[in-house]
Symmetry: D2
Subunit: 147 residues, 4 copies
């Protein structure tokens, strides 16, 4: 997707925006990769983020995946654009049990206004990795006005 880059400073742009996401800092999520049209976020397990069976809460998995989808789209947007999640769908495939979560998202279809992304959340437990969630999201590029 390199040929689709509209903002040479996309890595810096994404990292700056990420740094202002208080909730992701609260979660302890770390932006580990920003490439043209794809992003990875890593989240170490913390007991504050669990549901009733001590797995990571689905809401945590979704928040991290949604953020990865949003920034994957944002990386391909022009400098003056802001990114907004219109909607997403998530399938929870297995319990998020393990030591750390990797959320990997990519742009499936870039557009002028609408960007469609998919994301996978993988849980690492020792040497074992397991796909725990799949997301499809619709992101919007906003320029010069609000939605």
């Amino acid at each position: 997707m390199e040929s689709l880059i509209q903002d040479a400073n996309f890595v810096e742009k994404v990292r700056n925006s990420y740094a202002h996401q208080t909730f992701l800092a609260t979660l302890g999520a770390i932006l580990t990769d920003v490439s043209p049209g794809s992003v990875e976020i890593r989240l170490p397990y913390k007991s504050e983020l669990t549901q009733q069976h001590d797995f990571l809460h689905a809401g945590v998995v979704a928040a991290v995946l949604d953020t990865a989808c949003g920034y994957a789209a944002f990386s391909l947007m022009p400098p003056e654009a802001e990114v907004l999640t219109v909607e997403y769908k998530i399938n929870l495939l297995a319990p998020a049990k393990g030591e750390e979560l990797f959320a990997r998202a990519k742009v499936v279809k870039p557009g002028r206004t609408i960007f469609v992304c998919t994301g996978e959340a993988i849980m690492r437990h020792g040497n074992h990795e397991k796909l725990v969630a799949h997301m499809t999201g619709t992101m919007m590029s906003i320029t010069g006005r609000k939605l």
Copy 2:
């Protein structure tokens, strides 16, 4: 949906399960109503839960709505069942700006295995209420085995 109650202790069952959701305590979300096939959760605004524009993060809104959908379904399940979110879709309709969020979910279609729920997230700001998100979720009743 009163005629669909399969567990006379559904309120206590839901409240007990909710009390073990560490992540929801971390968020500060409060279970405010449990009725047959419907649930309300209230979340006061906190700066730890925001995105880059100081609104509640979409992931927070989704986590609370998903939980409300899950417990709306759980309220109609038999005593021996556990509830699992298979998938959900959320449309983010407006920024979650304000003092407190109400997540209200209800069962649209109960089943033996599959329960379909919808939920609305409403943000209160002073005397004003605004619909900020809409969810449709598929919940599953698990009895005697894992998925």
Copy 3:
């Protein structure tokens, strides 16, 4: 939603567009109501439209619901706009068994660019009506350019 009307000729506009939908004519679907922000389409059962158990095929139900969602949004768009389905999600709740299907859609959140709609498909069998599907769709207003 009357106060949201931007095109006084919205009924004629919707009916004209509908008349050019060859596939809906192939299905035998009839546009039965156009109101501000809501639309109803009726589809009589035909054996050509069935799946392996002689119920209406889910694809038929989805096509009619998607069309109802699209025109519900279109009814609130300005005269120069065209409507496009960005995405939808459908839950199939019960077999579409019966004499005729009613697809009823409404706008949940109108916007400048994005309209979010929900729709219900109800199957009539004698005097009995049953909810067979629920849809949430994201529609887009296109003016002066393509997506």
Copy 4:
């Protein structure tokens, strides 16, 4: 996904079920490949299947993709199981303009009860192929009872 085959006659099983789908015959859709956990369906363009701009109607694209997802899941189910679409989400990425459509679906996560599938619809126009839709669907295995 060969190691996940539970029914040695899965190809025959899928082809037999497909042959009873009257609506797909009405569309003119052809089952072109059945592999363990993946299915391809081909649909030649016909003017009876169009929307107002003479492209294939989104409902047609969705019906073919949903069917491909369902049979991809069915190919991995045990002999006594039936398959049911619980829900799906589709993003429409580009107009379905061209000579023939290929719907390719695969199982992302098999389960005992729930199978999650993704599907892509590709439109061929001369030598050019274009991704026109992306689907994620939740399929259910039904054995010995109805939903």
